[in-house]
Symmetry: C2
Amino acid sequence: MEQSELTERELAAWRASYQMLELLRTRIEQQLLADSGLSNADYTVLALLSEAPNGRMRLFELGRAAGWEKSRLHHQLTRMSTRGLVTRERCGSRGREAVITPKGLTALKDAVPGHAREVRRLFIDRLTPEELDRFGDIAAKLLDSLRADRPTS
Amino acid sequence: MEQSELTERELAAWRASYQMLELLRTRIEQQLLADSGLSNADYTVLALLSEAPNGRMRLFELGRAAGWEKSRLHHQLTRMSTRGLVTRERCGSRGREAVITPKGLTALKDAVPGHAREVRRLFIDRLTPEELDRFGDIAAKLLDSLRADRPTS
């Protein structure tokens, strides 16, 4: 009775992709939380801000880069502000920005080596270099295509 | 300063994969919630149970299939029980099972066509058949590898 509109092959490809990512997210987050007290979402925000000029990004850009809706971004940043990892600041007529704090930067620096090892152990080392390139290329194509849908408000 | 242990190519492949799936989850869930009031997690549980013999699965198997830890599965099933979509039942000495209710089955049936259309629109139709097969194959290989790590308690 399941998804009659998709062929068996399509459904299998979708489910493997979705379930693999769910499991990978869970496993990656277990290490992050245990070793650094950061969730996947915390890590994503800190990593994106740390690489942005002056450690700051407009909320719209940050949400877009993370793949989140406005309300999810709002709740995430509220939790992180409470913990002193980020602040939100007005920036003239351009709206609001999220800014990484020194505490946030330290938390990220402490988390990076363990997280990188876990990404290698759970994802990169389980694929051949050719598979990794192919998977990454297809993911990047899909990401570009999905981002192109969104209104550039 | 980010993930010095990973090469640029590895980091790019990882980030594209992670961010693409984050965005895809967000977009897929927007349609599901708007049209059916179900989250991605609700849909996953209902779909897995609906395909299991007699609409029931041991909690351990369900968590494994969904890629969730015990505590996440527990909270998810508690929320769904409150809404009458599933029940949890003891099953002799083998522990506990989750069971889909008639209301859960109806909710799933109502949600399937719209969800399948959205999976097609956002994922399947944006790839060539060869890309879809390749992506699905690599995801399935990773999924098998990750699942093989887990203790079979």
